[in-house]
């Protein structure tokens, strides 16, 4: 069971890499417009090529999806997408962007977002790792768990690239591995401070 003490988990941090666009689009289509949480997304992407990522993700989303500027305020019901070539982290009530050292050869990287969320918001944080290769996001998820937050991954069987979720399950005490549809309802319930039935995944052979 997740969230037996009915804490409002209203800071949602999501990381995705290869094969991550589709689950992100699907998830944002299913998150309700009155979600009482803020959502931050890091998707690995080229630092050089202009994309329409916020537009693509926002097309069918019920929440407002935006690429923030440095020091934009963090507001509930908004979805913040990390811009290319910059790490996106939380400070108190605002988003910070920086060109700090790449992590796992990439910027934006998932770990800095997750670590900053854990540091600032502790038990209010839900970290989610979606499809991807490599291990970015894993130490961030561990930090989120350590801070009393919840750690979720996309079901590796559903993800186009299951390595990132699998590595997270192997390294961290992930609370649940879920399909995108289950993720949407779970995140919504957790944001409202509800308890969710889920089985903790065991280490894959």
């Amino acid at each position: 069971m997740i969230n037996p003490h009915r804490i409002k988990r209203d800071v949602i941090a999501i990381g995705a890499s290869a094969g991550g666009v589709q689950p992100l689009k699907d998830l944002l289509e299913m998150l309700p417009p009155d979600l009482p949480a803020m959502v931050a997304i890091v998707l690995h992407r080229s630092p050089y090529h202009e994309t329409q990522l916020p537009l693509v993700l926002g097309r069918h989303a019920l929440l407002s999806v935006l690429e923030p500027a440095d020091r934009d305020p963090l507001l509930p019901g908004a979805v913040y997408v990390a811009p290319r070539d910059q790490h996106m982290i939380f400070e108190d009530g605002i988003v910070r962007l920086s060109r700090g050292a790449r992590e796992h050869h990439t910027r934006p990287a998932i770990d800095p977002l997750f670590r900053s969320a854990a540091e600032r918001y502790g038990p209010r944080v839900v970290g989610v790792v979606l499809s991807g290769m490599g291990s970015d996001g894993v130490s961030g998820l561990i930090a989120i768990k350590k801070g009393g937050g919840v750690s979720l991954v996309q079901h590796p069987g559903e993800a186009m690239f299951g390595t990132m979720p699998c590595t997270a399950i192997a390294e961290d005490d992930v609370d649940a591995m879920l399909t995108v549809e289950e993720l949407a309802s779970t995140l919504t319930a957790l944001a409202r401070g509800e308890t969710v039935e889920a089985r903790r995944p065991t280490v894959l052979p």
Binding site: S46, P47, Y48, E50, Q52, D85, S98, R99, G100, A101
Partner: protein
């Protein structure tokens, strides 16, 4: 010195810049209906304009961080050596150089973090 020869026909010409992968000489030639430039080095590394720009940006990124690390390591080394140094004269020299290197590192770090790379636009939609 030019990077791209000022007059280019449909034949490879030696370029004034080096291959990002192997530092060998690049040559350049226009190709296709739009006469897009294609760069190729002696051993066959090949780049479009956008790929060459990205490769050069990556190289710059790497070299800037390399320079930063060099300054940070030198600062740390001088700091630890100064602390162990018996000779007052050497200790002073170490300390002076350490402070200069530290200040340079701070400036370089700011330059690195302010260095927004080129943004490449997407291709136009075919109609």
């Amino acid at each position: 010195m030019y990077a791209i020869p000022p007059r280019l026909d449909h034949a490879p010409e030696l370029a004034g810049i080096s291959c990002p992968d192997c530092c060998g000489s690049l040559s350049v030639e226009p190709e296709g209906k739009r006469a897009d430039l294609v760069f190729e080095c002696r051993v066959g590394h090949t780049y479009s304009v956008d790929e060459l720009l990205v490769a050069k940006e990556e190289r710059l990124h790497g070299r800037l961080w390399t320079a930063y690390t060099a300054l940070v390591e030198l600062t740390a080394l001088l700091n630890d050596l100064a602390a162990r140094e018996a000779s007052e004269d050497r200790g002073r020299r170490y300390g002076e150089r350490r402070e200069v290197a530290r200040a340079q590192a701070t400036r370089l770090r700011r330059l690195i973090e302010d260095n927004a790379p080129l943004t490449l636009p997407g291709e136009g939609e075919p109609s």
